[in-house]
């Protein structure tokens, strides 16, 4: 069993999507508890990929492919979880996008992918998203967390406008806010009243988890 779970972990950490899919199928036919396969198997692999990234061994492509492998396995196991009236443990609902005037899509998509693979329900609004659309989506989705990416000095101030507009709209559930993007920082987050800043996609997952438990 432990060997099987280790293989699941390795399929994700070595970003082998096909292997992750066939191991997820195997878990179903063998009657492995799907929750256990995820938490003690595949999810460990995603953590490992994150560690390798922080160590400087992995880069954007490896991280992106590992999160894809994770999501593929989860999609296969999901029906089995539901059959057992178990819900996949979801950490919260995230609304994410790149701010208006800024069409940088890549970093934001990697964060979305990591959050989704890490157990969040993610609504990705895309790039060049207006303040109004952030507010609408946060309200409609009853988001727990709003994530805003800005890659340009000239578009950073939009993060502040979004945070203020979300607060002003007084949604039923006031979401927490997280910012990111190359020119942003902890001090910028503090200045504009964001709850958190994440310097990269691996940290974004850790910071988002921490925000949800605080």
């Amino acid at each position: 069993m432990d060997y099987f779970l280790a293989k699941c972990s390795e399929a994700v950490s070595k970003y082998d999507t096909e292997l992750a899919a066939s191991l997820a199928e195997e878990a179903l036919t063998k009657g492995v508890d799907p929750m256990r396969a995820i938490e003690e198997g595949f999810a460990k692999g995603l953590e490992k990929a994150g560690t390798l990234w922080e160590e400087g061994t992995y880069f954007l492509p490896e991280l992106m492919m590992a999160s894809e492998a994770m999501k593929t396995a989860m999609a296969i196991l999901k029906p089995a979880l539901e059959e057992r009236s178990l819900k996949m443990k979801r950490l919260g609902k995230v609304v994410i996008g790149t701010v208006e005037g800024d069409i940088h899509d890549i970093g934001k998509s990697l964060v979305a992918s990591m959050l989704s693979a890490g157990g969040f329900d993610v609504v990705d609004l895309g790039a060049d998203v207006s303040v109004e659309n952030f507010v609408k989506a946060a309200t409609r989705e009853e988001a727990d967390l709003v994530c805003m990416s800005a890659l340009l000095t000239t578009t950073m101030p939009a993060q502040q406008r979004i945070i203020q507009a979300v607060k002003k709209a007084k949604p039923r559930k006031l979401p927490r806010t997280m910012i990111g993007g190359a020119p942003t920082s902890d001090s910028w987050a503090a200045e504009i009243g964001a709850d958190a800043y994440a310097p990269d996609a691996v940290n974004a997952l850790n910071v988002a988890k921490r925000l949800m438990s605080s």
Binding site: I106, D128, S185
Partner: protein, 303 residues
């Protein structure tokens, strides 16, 4: 040791590095570009504003100004909801840079217009949806238009993927016979400098040289002190002229607007000495202003 190069010959500069311009977007915003608008569109919508920005860099002593075409490829423009007429936009931008240079008066040296080519903004397959053919076609179209409108050379910048940089380089070589400079963006990680895709400066320099680049370089992300360290690696790895354009440090918030930490004197003090380390051309990226370029020019000419 100073390296002389094609760009020295073109500019007729001797005994000092070639000075490139600095950041464009912030000048355009100060002149009325609305947050959320596409800066490239100003080349047709508010040409005088773009010319004003170019002129402030020429007046500051820049030998090279970049056309306002960083995002003027069809992939990025269609995503941003900008003009569909990509050739028109690029030709208009090149014309503006040319006009400013030609109006700048007599000088022993000659200022150059660099046709600016930025990344497509999309990830190539298999990570993303973009095919190499689509990328090549987009860059080809942009470079052809820039060359038609008489830029002096092509400056591919801020590339974070070597694969995409090589596609842009190949397209530029297919589209025209002008020199092509390729500048990548590197991050400083625990174990050295890498692109976000994991490529090292040496591997980029080698691949770009083999691909026919006429100049290699680094711009954006790094502040001037880190860029110094990277510049030495690039010079050591390259037989080609090297261009560096650091950011003016890290951005900080100042009451709703954004400022960069490095003032012109600090920036110039870090960048100028690289001339004697073999860097051929130097300018600025995010956060740099005409004042940074003026100071850099002053320090390198020793006046």
């Amino acid at each position: 040791m100073e390296r002389t190069s094609w760009i020295h010959e073109l500019t007729k500069i001797e005994g000092r590095p070639v000075i490139f311009d600095g950041a464009m977007g912030s000048l355009l915003m100060a002149g009325g570009l609305k947050p959320g608008a596409v800066p490239d569109m100003l080349c047709v919508e508010k040409p005088e504003l773009v010319k004003g920005a170019h002129k402030s860099y020429v007046d500051a002593g820049a030998d090279v100004i970049h056309t306002n075409t960083f995002g003027s490829n069809r992939i990025r423009l269609s995503q941003a909801g900008g003009s569909k007429d990509v050739p028109l936009l690029n030709r208009a931008a090149a014309k503006l840079a040319r006009e400013v240079i030609e109006a700048s008066g007599e000088s022993r040296t000659r200022a150059l217009a660099a046709g600016d080519v930025g990344p497509s903004g999309k990830l190539l397959k298999p990570l993303g949806e973009l095919s190499p053919e689509e990328a090549h076609e987009a860059f080809l179209e942009q470079v052809q238009s820039l060359a038609e409108a008489r830029v002096d050379f092509i400056s591919i910048e801020t590339m974070f993927s070597l694969k995409e940089a090589l596609l842009a380089l190949e397209a530029a070589k297919d589209a025209c016979s002008l020199p092509v400079s390729v500048s990548m963006t590197y991050e400083k990680r625990k174990n050295g400098f890498f692109t976000v895709m994991g490529e090292t400066p040496r591997s980029c320099v080698e691949a770009l040289s083999a691909g026919g680049a006429d100049m290699v370089g680094a711009n954006c992300t790094l502040a001037s002190a880190d860029m110094r360290e990277l510049a030495l690696e690039l010079v050591a790895a390259s037989q080609l002229p090297v261009l560096i354009e650091p950011n003016a440090g890290q951005p900080v918030a100042r009451g709703g607007s954004v400022e960069y930490l490095e003032d012109p004197a600090f920036f110039a003090a870090n960048v100028a000495p690289l001339a004697s380390e073999g860097v051929t051309a130097m300018g600025g990226c995010c956060g740099t202003t005409p004042e940074h370029i003026r100071e850099l020019r002053r320090v390198v000419t020793g006046k």
